[in-house]
């Protein structure tokens, strides 16, 4: 048994830390969020150059190996600095779905572009009314000869406004919540009939609402066989769930660290507030939450990399997301409370970390959803 990082993981971690230290302070992040794209192309090019964009991909796909533990190590560092670059949207989620579901030709065409940083993607799966159920898809795909006509609305499409290609989950057959009948189509974002409403989420990451009205796409743009995409979507979302969980572990670590430091310097009643036992115990509880969150994310990452059954893997992801969701509420809320009014302001990073972890709690299914999913599997 050995829970220490391998030499490679350590290098990866240090390389992210170095980047964050040099190029991703709080003010720089603010400027990036305020920019038109909402992320830095320069950073994205650098990620490609440093090989980070290959981390989520298997060696067979030309990637670094696709280890979930590697991914978690990296995401944790991203989370500490609240990176807004669409790493999860493009590389983990969309890249993952293509890797699972795409044909050899499709993979050969798209995956190298993702890894070299020249292609932005978004995965449009969620809809109003679907909540977190991936099988709940109303968007219709009607085949007419060599083309498919897509109609429907997608919500919470991470990176939707910057993606050149949208992976649109649509129903070719079956009822709204059937697991069979779902396909994923690669849709050029500039296609006629695609309308995109773009905005930033509470964590600063770009997202979009997307409407599809009689969007015509060649059938050849379907990933894999007709109606068979749900499993690949689930696997992609599971990996993205692990990634966002690891990111939250990093952000919670920052919240804890900043709260403890603040309590040592903030003086009220003639003494640092960190000397009050009432607050000490609460920070001790925050520490415990951070540790348990880290443990369960490591567990899930190891299971994803190991020889467990598909069911075990999925269950461990839901276990992780459920547990970190509880930690997020506790650590996030206590960090603000112990900071007091100053923690409520846009000016201080603590509030932004709180908003980031709150978004993470919801993303890819909230605590209740994953607890119930765990129980039902």
């Amino acid at each position: 048994m050995d829970f220490s990082n391998t030499e490679e993981q350590q290098m990866l971690q240090e390389s992210v830390q170095k980047f964050v230290y040099k190029s991703y302070d709080f003010d720089t992040r603010k400027q990036i969020i305020a920019s038109e794209k909402g992320f830095s192309q320069e950073n994205w090019d650098l990620f490609a150059e440093l090989g980070w964009l290959t981390v989520p991909f298997k060696e067979d796909d030309g990637g670094f190996g696709g280890s979930a533990v590697d991914l978690a190590v990296m995401m944790e560092e991203f989370g500490k600095a609240m990176l807004v670059e669409p790493f999860i949207a493009t590389a983990v989620l969309a890249g993952g779905v293509i890797s699972e579901q795409g044909s050899a030709e499709q993979k050969a065409e798209l995956l190298p572009k993702i890894m070299e940083g020249s292609l932005q993607l978004a995965c449009a799966y969620a809809e109003q009314g679907s909540r977190f159920n991936l099988a709940n898809i109303k968007t219709s795909a009607v085949i007419e000869g060599d083309t498919v006509i897509l109609n429907g609305s997608k919500t919470a499409v991470l990176n939707g406004s910057n993606a050149e290609i949208l992976l649109v989950a649509a129903r070719e057959s079956g009822a709204t919540t059937d697991s069979e009948g779902i396909s994923v189509f690669m849709v050029d974002a500039s296609s006629a009939g695609v309308s995109i409403q773009s905005f930033a989420n509470v964590d600063g990451k770009k997202s979009a609402e997307i409407n599809l009205t009689d969007v015509s796409v060649p059938v050849a743009q379907r990933l894999g066989a007709s109606g068979s995409a749900l499993q690949a979507l689930q696997d992609g979302v599971d990996r993205a769930t692990l990634a966002v969980s690891a990111e939250a572990v990093g952000a919670m670590e920052s919240l804890l660290h900043k709260t403890v430091e603040y309590s040592k310097t903030r003086k009220q009643f003639g003494t640092a507030i960190g000397t009050f036992q009432a607050l000490q115990h609460r920070m001790a509880d925050m520490f415990i939450e951070c540790q348990l969150a880290r443990s369960i994310v490591i567990m899930a990452a190891m299971k994803l990399d190991g020889g467990e059954s598909a069911l075990e893997k999925t269950k461990s992801v839901s276990a992780a997301k459920s547990r970190i969701g509880r930690a997020i509420q506790k650590v996030g809320q206590e960090a603000i409370q112990i900071h007091g009014g100053i923690g409520m302001t846009e000016e201080l990073d603590v509030g932004h970390l709180f908003k980031s972890v709150t978004a993470a709690e919801i993303m890819f299914g909230n605590t209740d959803y994953h607890t119930q999913r765990f129980a039902s599997l």
Partner: protein, 399 residues
């Protein structure tokens, strides 16, 4: 033992309800329901409607133009206001500075300030907290030095709510640095138009600048704007804080939000063909909030019964503050739960008055996270919940 209202009280309840149904403008009600803030003009307009009815100052005695209501009548009024979503009059004038003026102001000061507060002609704000004096308010440093007929004020105040609207500010200032910190504080009224006052908006996590930092640079204040005696301000301030802590349980608003949660849950798909009202985890949490609200309501009624037989508000108000604020925060968590992905978009401007752009997300679902963030303030302000627990430990448990 009974929790019944008298026949007169029941009659009064009907009267209040009918008035609010008819006179609280429907367009304001719609805005409140949609999570849109009322503008300054709208708030003032509503307060003037209350004034015309004679109900602007529910907590004032008749001699100053107040209602002279009993504790129970005040409770009924606050309940009906909360249930319909009508905003309480902005508290800084009506509930904070006015009681201090009545108790400790000179006749000249009462005549000068109270009528304009009653008629909502003048907007007041609060100058208590400072960047380094939050929970430890008595450590405040903003100084006022006597110079002839004036005081010269220097320093800064923070968490000043709606200072951007305010005509006047009431401040705690330090007038003696040589004594125990509580004994060198004075209570002073300052015209916001006085040269040397600048306002810096503080944007909170929901993207809205509802609070400010106020800077005083050589601000000259007439000495007759001092309330009562110099260096007695802390005593006066404590009176004010007691008033700030009544009506803080927010039970009526809680009931309104609980009803909204139930409605919303019934209209929110669970993703599996049912609604969130049928989701076991959500249903359980909703029931817990419902039950807690009932326990809180009866705690408030017990406090009320004690008040109506003439007992002073005691540390019970700390219980109401702690439980009321934490319950309101739990309700925010439930709204976030229901909204799911729909609360992620950060588009705060769509909930500002007069927004013309394209709204994001269905209904007010995108307001859920903003409200969740903003309401973290509830357990921080008005005497943080830690301070309230200290009060209970010391005053009730004798620890």
């Amino acid at each position: 033992m009974n929790a019944d209202f008298t026949a007169e009280e029941l009659q009064f309840e009907i009267e209040v309800r009918e008035f609010l149904q008819n006179d609280f403008p429907a367009e304001y009600r719609e805005k409140v329901d949609a999570g849109i803030r009322l503008s300054k003009d709208e708030l003032v307009h509503w307060q003037k409607i209350l004034y015309k009815k004679g109900w602007a100052a529910s907590n004032w005695p008749v001699e100053h133009g107040g209602t002279g209501w009993s504790a129970t009548q005040k409770h009924i009024f606050a309940t009906e206001m909360g249930l319909i979503g009508a905003p309480e009059p902005v508290p800084f004038g009506m509930k904070m500075v006015a009681p201090v003026l009545m108790a400790y102001g000179s006749d000249e000061q009462k005549q000068r300030f109270l009528p304009d507060i009653l008629q909502s002609n003048v907007w007041w704000c609060q100058g208590y907290s400072e960047p380094n004096s939050g929970s430890d308010l008595a450590s405040l440093k903003t100084s006022a030095v006597r110079d002839g007929d004036e005081y010269v004020v220097n320093g800064s105040k923070t968490w000043n709510t709606y200072g951007q609207y305010a005509d006047w500010i009431f401040c705690l200032v330090r007038t003696d640095t040589s004594v125990k910190k509580q004994e060198g504080i004075s209570f002073m009224l300052i015209d916001m138009k006085t040269p040397g006052i600048t306002l810096k908006p503080i944007v909170l996590l929901d993207g809205h600048a509802e609070v400010n930092e106020v800077f005083f640079d050589e601000v000259r204040v007439p000495a007759n704007n001092l309330i009562g005696e110099e260096n007695k301000g802390w005593t006066y301030a404590k009176v004010l804080l007691t008033h700030e802590r009544t009506n803080i349980s927010g039970v009526p608003r809680g009931k309104r939000r609980l009803a909204a949660l139930k409605r919303l849950a019934g209209n929110t798909d669970d993703g599996f063909g049912g609604t969130m009202l049928e989701n076991s985890a959500f249903k359980t949490k909703l029931a817990q909030v419902d039950i807690e609200l009932q326990a809180l309501e009866y705690s408030e009624l017990r406090t009320l019964a004690a008040l109506s037989v003439g007992k002073a508000p005691g540390p019970e108000s700390s219980i109401l503050k702690i439980v009321g604020t934490e319950l309101a925060q739990e309700m925010d968590e439930l709204f976030v739960d229901l909204a799911g992905y729909n609360c992620l978009p950060f588009v705060p401007e769509q909930f500002e008055d007069g927004f013309q752009g394209e709204a994001v997300g269905p209904g007010s679902s995108a307001a859920a996270a903003l409200s969740y963030f903003n309401n973290r303030k509830l357990s921080i302000f008005g005497g943080s919940n830690e301070i309230q627990r200290n009060i209970i430990s010391k005053a009730v448990l004798g620890l």
